[in-house]
């Protein structure tokens, strides 16, 4: 199955029943995580046609020609500014949820140059983290937003 992932055509060996998450992971793009497989935790979050999507809830065959961006896609030229902010603020603990948070924040900062705290919290409300209590994740985004004001 041909999919447009991170700007290139990839031939992913996926069955018709495979979710986008399964297809990506089977193709070696294991940055997107299977935390719940029910669309609740957000660890599998990718950008589908520029919008946030739970890759565990999307069938790979339904993706068609829409471009997919995964955490690997935003890391191609080193750490993105979102990733840098998370690293430097100490917002990453076990790291299993991190790729999902990276994607949620990447989408937010594409949409809003300098989001306020409430906007940041709303944008992260679809992602679960069990280690950090969210404080430093929000702080990282606020710092990044502050630098852009």
């Amino acid at each position: 199955m041909l999919l447009n992932v991170n700007g290139e055509e990839r031939d992913l060996a996926a069955t018709p029943a495979a979710t986008l998450l399964e297809a990506l992971r089977a193709g070696g793009l294991t940055g997107s995580k299977r935390g719940c497989n029910h669309g609740v935790c957000g660890a599998c979050t990718v950008l589908l046609d520029g919008k946030l999507a739970r890759s565990c809830l999307a069938l790979a065959v339904d993706v068609g020609e829409r471009p997919v961006v995964t955490v690997e896609g935003v890391s191609e030229s080193g750490l993105s500014e979102v990733q840098k902010a998370l690293v430097e603020t100490g917002a990453i603990q076990c790291g299993f949820c991190t790729p999902g948070f990276v994607m949620a924040l990447t989408e937010l900062f594409l949409r809003r140059a300098a989001p306020a705290r409430d906007e940041i919290r709303a944008a992260l409300s679809g992602n679960l983290c069990r280690c950090s209590g969210y404080v430093k994740i929000v702080e990282a985004a606020e710092k990044l937003a502050g630098g852009k004001r």
Partner: protein, 761 residues
């Protein structure tokens, strides 16, 4: 120097980019997949298995059932368990069989084709049912099990314990005010973001298991014991571990995958789905706590009595130490001269309960700290003033008689109180009642054995090796900082590697808030020993006495007061090619702190001789309670905890904030629930609600106190657990402060809060 600074975690970049490898990210050519058959009965005798249908499916490579087991049962404390059910099933969801096949779909079809005949038995699903006269017994052969503790054995009682100091009955007669109540707490699930899993492979007659574990050594021991191999033929490696919180010590699935890999000679991956992880792993112990506390009119607390019963589920796991620790923590961080606590751990036909951040303390502290506020109300005293008056001080003894040289209980309370008073008040909101609540808590940091190895490399950099698995709390970075600091090196010059039972020095496990304290101590001592060996070389090279030498930042040793110095690299080269041999050092020890005092306290069955050093903390929270719906919102929190010395302050804050939010979940939303047939009904994240960002206050202020511990070379204490412990009672007290009502049952759901508000009148 790196201690007290907060460099980014060593693995943060890899985790941010998705490059970090967790167990499910590992692939092997020819790798097999596993499907599990689980019990549909809460309690049943297994009559027979029919696996022929499964084995005849193309692609199926092996099937494991209880019929394949002969050997001893497994269990760290009571050997009552096996990797798949043996003879009986004792909870719905218990693993009965495992099948491995070339792909997950084939494995799942084969699992569905396995037939198991059961004779259903009556089940017990609660503490009350387990204790009832004539209750069905889960483990008829309990008396014959191998055990490392005594106690228990009648009916479904798996362990009993008690501690008593002073004369409780007499003291209550001297009290002017007495409060008494019963508190209930639920089964909480760890809900690490990464479900448990493993990959097992066979090479050269040895089995290697990549495992989600909090201890490669404990996992290795369990696997070897269960599949009946010498430990020399079992190797366990931890890839990145996506959170643990006590729920990833040594799962039975590791043994299952190892058994299947040995049977098929092929790599076998077994990663649980989220639902399976809820159903087959473990929970925090549900508890029922009766407690009574009495004081003089002036607020001097004279007596406390407690009865703590915990629901251990179908297998012992760590129930005895959890109960014993709950008992020890039930006096709270107070000087109460007459205290008594007794309790039982019960078998029930539910998921096993085990270790979970706080280890019995969240249950005991929820009851104890709720009761302190109830006592304050009855005395007409300010709850913080009552706590300060009775708080333990340096030199006091903990319940059970262990001396406590370092104690910041009063400072912790004062700091959160003052910080809350100094903060500008949040605007009131219509329809909501605002309340402020406090809690105080003690915990321990220590336990058991650990070790560290250090080695000087030819380029003057250092290889550090420990058995301490970083499960996300940041121990890799902390331990490297301790090592680098002692040598004046930047942290980039010290490496650490993933834990591997072949190479990593022994560590009991990542648990008990012990990594920074225990393994950190081992790292500091080993590094200092290696430094002394480097000094010996430098003394000969510089022709001076070792006592005149000093470490210079950046990797050299010089003569005090003189510019003359030699680099670590030159020392390393000399040791390798001229004299002395490679420079290495190691240090291992078992917790060596003071023990309980049998002259002071009457102790029956504690399951351990000493625990660790005591740490103290306090919380203050502000809540809004919607009087119409009973909904509780935590608006702000201040959490003060003693880190002894904060090695990496940002990591300390992360531990405090994360633990507090896990405690918000325990307080307000999280509960595993079983129906009348014993089926777990909270098996997805939609049914089992952990806090999302909008369920947490935007402000969680961590206040790090630093009262250095005299037994640690750099003064550090563990900080992993206490922040969870204080959350629920502080929230309960804030709700009571806002509404005058107290639910006494966790989680404090809107329904329960409303009921309590209605019952108030």
């Amino acid at each position: 120097m790196s201690i007290g600074t907060s460099p980014p975690r060593l693995d943060a970049g890899d985790k941010a980019t998705g490059r970090a490898q967790f167990v499910d990210d590992l692939q092997r050519p020819g790798m097999l997949h596993v499907a599990l058959v689980t019990s549909p009965h809460a309690h049943a005798r297994i009559l027979k298995y029919d696996v022929q249908g499964a084995l005849s499916i193309k692609g199926v490579k092996a099937v494991l059932t209880g019929a394949d087991l002969k050997g001893p049962r497994y269990g760290g404390i009571v050997k009552d368990e096996s990797m798949v059910a043996y003879g009986k099933v004792r909870y719905v969801g218990e693993i009965v069989a495992a099948v491995t096949a070339t792909d997950p779909q084939t494995a799942a079809r084969a699992a569905a084709a396995i037939e198991v005949d059961y004779e259903p038995l009556p089940a017990v699903l609660s503490i009350v049912e387990a204790l009832a006269a004539g209750a069905p017994v889960l483990h008829e052969e309990f008396a014959s099990y191998v055990k490392t503790v005594k106690g228990g054995g009648g009916g479904n009682v798996l362990f009993e314990s008690s501690v008593e100091e002073g004369d409780v009955e007499r003291a209550f007669r001297e009290c002017d005010v007495v409060v008494e109540g019963t508190y209930e707490t639920p089964a909480q699930h760890h809900m690490y973001m990464e479900p448990n899993g493993c990959l097992a492979e066979v090479e050269g007659g040895r089995i290697t298991v990549y495992a989600t574990t909090q201890s490669v050594h404990q996992a290795q021991q369990r696997i070897a014991e269960e599949i009946d191999e010498p430990m020399a033929r079992v190797r366990v490696i931890s890839p990145k571990v996506g959170g643990g919180f006590g729920g990833k010590h040594a799962s039975n699935i590791l043994s299952i995958a190892a058994w299947l890999a040995r049977a098929t000679r092929r790599p076998v991956k077994l990663v649980l789905s989220r639902t399976q992880d809820f159903e087959v792993q473990r929970s925090r112990h549900p508890a029922r706590i009766w407690m009574k506390t009495g004081a003089r009119k002036d607020g001097t607390i004279l007596a406390r009595d407690a009865r703590i019963d915990i629901d251990g589920g179908a297998y012992c796991d760590e129930s005895p130490p959890v109960l014993a620790f709950a008992i020890l923590m039930s006096r709270g961080p107070y000087r109460i001269p007459n205290a008594r606590a007794r309790g039982q751990a019960l078998y029930t036909n539910k998921l096993r309960a085990g270790s979970f951040r706080g280890f019995g303390n969240p249950q005991a502290s929820y009851a104890g700290e709720s009761q302190i506020d109830e006592l304050a109300a009855k005395l007409g005293m300010d709850p913080v003033a009552l706590r300060l008056k009775n708080a333990m001080r340096p030199g006091d003894t903990a319940f059970g008689g262990q001396p406590v040289p370092s104690c910041v209980q009063q400072q912790a309370l004062e700091r959160v109180r003052d910080a809350q008073l100094a903060a500008p008040a949040l605007a009131p909101r219509p329809g909501r009642r605002r309340g402020v609540g406090f809690s105080a808590m003690s915990h321990v940091s220590g336990l058991m054995g650990t070790a560290a190895n250090v080695q000087l490399r030819t380029d003057g950099s250092v290889a550090l090796s420990t058995g301490c698995v970083d499960i996300g709390q940041g121990s890799d970075t902390i331990l490297v900082q301790i090592c680098a600091d002692a040598l004046g090196l930047p942290i980039e010059k010290v490496s650490t590697s993933p834990q591997d039972s072949d190479h990593s020095p022994y560590n009991w496990k990542t648990a008990g808030s012990r990594s920074t304290y225990m393994t950190g101590r081992a790292v500091a001592v080993a590094t200092i020993e290696m430094r002394d060996r480097m000094f010996d070389h430098a003394a000969e090279m510089l022709e001076c006495a070792a006592a005149d030498l000093e470490i210079r930042p950046g990797g050299s040793i010089g003569i005090k007061g003189l510019p003359k110095a030699v680099g670590f690299k030159e020392i390393a080269m000399r040791s390798l090619f001229q004299a002395g041999g490679p420079i290495t050092a190691s240090h291992g020890f078992v917790f060596d702190g003071p023990r309980f005092d049998p002259k002071r306290a009457s102790i029956h069955q504690l399951a351990f001789a000493n625990l660790g050093i005591y740490t103290f903390g306090a919380h203050c929270v502000e809540v809004d309670v919607d009087e119409g719906t009973g909904q509780v919102e935590v608006r702000r929190a201040w959490c003060a905890h003693d880190a002894g010395r904060a090695i990496n302050p940002v990591s300390c804050e992360g531990q405090i904030q994360g633990g507090f939010v896990q405690g918000i979940g325990y307080a307000l939303t999280e509960a595993m629930k079983w129906n009348a047939e014993g089926w777990l009904t909270t098996v997805t994240l939609a049914d089992y609600k952990i806090p999302g960002v909008l369920d947490t206050p935007p402000e969680i202020h961590s206040i790090i106190l630093e009262d250095p511990d005299p037994t640690h070379p750099v003064g550090a204490k563990g900080i992993g657990e206490p922040s969870l412990v204080g959350a629920a009672p502080a929230i309960a007290n804030a709700i009571a402060n806002a509404t005058g009502a107290r639910a006494c049952i966790l989680p404090m759901t809107p329904e329960r809060v409303l009921e309590a508000i209605e019952a108030r009148a």
